[in-house]
Symmetry: C2
DNA sequence: AATGATAATGATAATAATTATCATTTATTG
DNA sequence: CAATAAATGATAATTATTATCATTATCATT
């Protein structure tokens, strides 16, 4: 991978955000200051960085791709109301992966966990009156036992 | 929600599959027998069913939407080689969610876990020589401690 | 069983995010 | 500094999904 001004700009711009922007959002942000950067360059490099493990890619619940410059082990929380993605800096036990390998007879190399609910801000704003009218597509907590 | 012949066909067709098809895949399958069903109807109803909690929607690592007629608590394993989605019928402890709520100060209502790696079939076929050239976008196991 | 209200359907247009193409520019290496 | 090949940017292409809307089917009520 060759160096370029654009790559530096993209990486720096991503580092300035903690909201886990999409490629498009980051492009628009960068484009304000560097109007001559191309959309393809931003998409291309973000994906390349993710492949190389320099950054992380998060697939949102609606299928959109978000990017995260933080490589530290952590998971994500997505607010069902405002859609913002927050970090959840916890680790899970290896025994869970062992159990999953046992059940599936598959070799597991990576895993991903996403929580969903209402963020503090939205809960305050809506005073608990927010109705989950979106698809409840994930495992409901009520169904999970330990 | 009103009843219809199409809804029955779609639900039945989904039940016949354990590969977690996309809306498009299911449409093509159904279309073979019922050539007069529309694409929009399949997309519409699958999403509606997921909203109602009659089926589940899984967002693949590439952002594609897959559907699952099984409502039992379980997670998924996606093969990095062939892309097939397998069920992982395990449960996690509530303490993990409690911990996540504590860290984020958010109210968690649901969670989702996806494992990734090589399925038995692909491992045998490629004899362990498969190279992960795809984006390693999730948390690498090596980074996770218990 | 006929009626009427309205939800569901299907054909197709529209959308939106992302990727491919390719001529031009830029970085790296000897 | 020149040669080589990768990177860029403009734009076309792609692809999955959704919106539109005229038509049809469903279902509660008569």
């Amino acid at each position: 991978m060759r160096n370029s001004k654009q790559k530096e700009i993209i990486l720096r711009a991503l580092g300035e955000h903690c909201i886990h922007p999409t490629a498009d959002e980051l492009y628009n942000y960068i484009h304000q200051e560097y109007s001559d950067i191309g959309v393809a360059t931003v998409y291309r490099n973000l994906n390349k960085f993710a492949e190389k493990g320099i950054i992380r890619k998060i697939i949102g619940l609606d299928g959109s791709s978000h990017f995260d410059s933080c490589l530290e082990p952590h998971y994500h929380f997505i607010c069902s109301c405002c859609g913002k993605i927050y970090d959840v800096p916890i680790n899970i036990g290896k025994d869970l992966i062992a159990k999953a390998e046992e059940f599936t007879d598959c070799k597991i190399t990576s895993m991903n966990m996403t929580f969903r609910g209402l963020c503090r801000e939205c809960e305050d704003k809506h005073n608990g009156k927010f109705v989950f009218d979106e698809a409840e597509t994930e495992m409901l907590l009520t169904a999970s036992t330990s």
